[in-house]
C-alpha cells in the first residue's frame, strides 16, 4: 500500500511538472514568435524604405522641410550642450595636466576626445531624444488619426512621403549638427582655458588641431551618418507602426527614444572596434 501511494505521488509530481513545462514552453514560443515577427517587420520596413528611397519621385520639398525642422528644432540645444561639453572637459582635465606639466597638450587632448567621441555620441543621444521622439510622436499620431491611411487612399505613398524624407533628412542633418557641436565644443574649451591663464584663440586653435589628422576625422564623421540614419529609422519605424488608440502615440515616442539611444551606443561600440582594427 505504501509503495502504491508513493507511485501516485511521483506520478502526480511528474504530471504537474510536465504540464508546467509545456505551459512555459508555449509561453516562450509565443514570446519568441512575437520577437521574430517584430524582426521580420523591421527588415520588411527597411527593405521597403530602401526600395522607395531609390524610386524616381523623391519628395524634395518635404525633404527640405524636414531638414529645416531638424536643424531648427535642435540647434539651440546642440549649441548649449556642445559649448558646455568643451568647457567642462577643459576645466576637468586641466589640474591633471598641470600635475604632469603638460598644459600645452590640453587643447589637443580636448579636441581629440571631442571630435572622436564626446561630440558624436552626446549630440546623437540628444538628437535621439529630440528628433527620434518627435518623429515617433508625429508619425504615431498620424497613424492613430488615420492620416497615413488618408494618404494611401489618395494614392500618395506614405512611405515615400513621410519616412524616406525623414530618414534622409536625419542622415544628412545629424552629422552636420555633430560637426557644429564639435566646433562649439572647441570654442567652449578655449573659453575654459581662459578661465585660468590666458591663451590666444589662434594659438589655442593651432594646438587643438595639431594632433588631429584627417584620418581621425573620417571614422567620426562616418559613424555620425550611421547615428543619423538609425535615429531617423527608429523614430519613423516606431511611429509608423504605432497601434490603435491614443496611448500608442506616447508608447511610440517613448520606445523610439529608448531604442535609438541604445542603438547609438551600440553602433558607437562597433564603430570604435572597427576603426581600431583598421588603423592599428
Amino acid at each position: 500500500m505504501r509503495k502504491f501511494t508513493s507511485v501516485i505521488k511521483v506520478k502526480g509530481f511528474a504530471v504537474h511538472h510536465s504540464r508546467r513545462l509545456s505551459e512555459t514552453t508555449l509561453e516562450k514560443t509565443q514570446i519568441a514568435s512575437i520577437f521574430f515577427a517584430e524582426v521580420a517587420r523591421v527588415f520588411l520596413f527597411i527593405t521597403v524604405l530602401v526600395r522607395e528611397s531609390f524610386s524616381r519621385d523623391f519628395e524634395l520639398r518635404e525633404f527640405f522641410r524636414q531638414c529645416f525642422q531638424i536643424g531648427y528644432k535642435t540647434l539651440p540645444l546642440v549649441s548649449v550642450t556642445g559649448a558646455i561639453m568643451g568647457l567642462v572637459l577643459t576645466i576637468q582635465s586641466r589640474p591633471v595636466l598641470v600635475d604632469f606639466g603638460a598644459v600645452s597638450w590640453l587643447p589637443g587632448m580636448v579636441s581629440v576626445s571631442l571630435i572622436k567621441e564626446m561630440g558624436p555620441v552626446i549630440t546623437a543621444l540628444i538628437c535621439a531624444g529630440k528628433i527620434g521622439s518627435g518623429m515617433g510622436a508625429e508619425l504615431g499620431s498620424m497613424k492613430v488619426t488615420e492620416q497615413i491611411e488618408a494618404m494611401e487612399v489618395s494614392s500618395i505613398n506614405p512611405m515615400r512621403f513621410l519616412v524616406v524624407t525623414r530618414v534622409a533628412a536625419a542622415t544628412l542633418m545629424i552629422p552636420l549638427l555633430i560637426l557644429y557641436a564639435d566646433a562649439l565644443g572647441i570654442l567652449g574649451s578655449w573659453a575654459g582655458a581662459n578661465i585660468k591663464g590666458s591663451v590666444s584663440f589662434v594659438l589655442f586653435f593651432s594646438q587643438a588641431f595639431s594632433p588631429v589628422d584627417f584620418i581621425d576625422f573620417l571614422p567620426a564623421v562616418l559613424k555620425s551618418f550611421f547615428f543619423g540614419a538609425v535615429i531617423g529609422l527608429v523614430g519613423c519605424y516606431k511611429g509608423y507602426n504605432a497601434g490603435r488608440g491614443t496611448e500608442s502615440v506616447g508608447v511610440a515616442a517613448n520606445s523610439a527614444v529608448v531604442m535609438a539611444s541604445l542603438l547609438v551606443i551600440i553602433i558607437d561600440l562597433i564603430a570604435v572596434q572597427i576603426t581600431d582594427m583598421l588603423l592599428l
Partner: protein
Amino acid sequence: MKTKQTETFDKVHYKTKNNEPVIEITNLRKSFNNQEVLKDVSLKLFDGENLVVLGKSGSGKSVLIKCIVRLLNPDGGTISVFDENVMALQRNELNELRKKIGFLFQSGALYDSMTVKQNLEFPLRRIRKDLSEKDIKEKIAEVLENVGLPDAQNKMPSQLSGGMRKRISLARTIVVDPLIMLYDEPTTGLDPATSDEISLLINDVQTKYKTSSIIITHDIACARANANRIVLLLDGAIYKEGSLETFEHSTDPEIKSFFR
C-alpha cells in the same frame, strides 16, 4: 440565404439609370485576432446610386469600406471595382484605382501639419496633374464654398471645430472629382442645420458629377435625403436590403430601432 439576397438585388434598382454594378462584393470575410467582424457580406453598388449602409456601432461598417480600397486586406471573398479584382491589383494599378475613389474618413483624418488650403492641394496636385495653378485655386475656393467654409483657407486643422474639420475633410475628398464616393458617417457630430447642408451637398455631388456612393450613417435624416437603396449590416452579414420605404414601414425590431 445568398440566393434570396441576389433576388432582392435584381428587383431593386430604384433611381439608378442603368444596372451596371460599379462595386461588387461577394462573401467578404474579415476578422481581427479571433474576432470575426465581417462573416459573409455580399453587396453591389450600382452606377449612379446612393447606397446607405446602416449598422450598429462596431458592426464593421468602417472595416467594410476600408476593404474596398484595400486599406485592410480581407481574409476571404472577392471585391471588384469597375470590373477589376481589387485583391489582385499591383501597387501602381491599385493607386490608379484609388484615384477614382473618394474616401471620407470617420475621424476626418486632416493632415494636421498643413493648413486647410494645403490639405486640399495635397491630393489635388498629385491626382489631377492636368490642372493649372489658376484651376487649382478656383477649385479649392469652389469646394470650400460648397461646404460653407470659404474663409478657412489659411487655418490650421487644430483651429477648427469638430464639425468644421468634418466639412473640410469632405471638401478634401470631393475636390479631386472621384467617380465613387465612400462616406463614413458624413453627418455624425454636426448640428441639424449643417447636417442638412451636408446631405444636400452629397446629393449635389451625385447629380453634378454622376458619382456612385456608399454612405455609412446613423443619421436617418441623411439617409432619407440621399438613399436610393439601404442595406443593414448585422452580425457580419447583410441582414436586409431594400428601398427607403420598405425600411420605414418595416416592423422588424432590428430595423425599427434605427427609424424611431
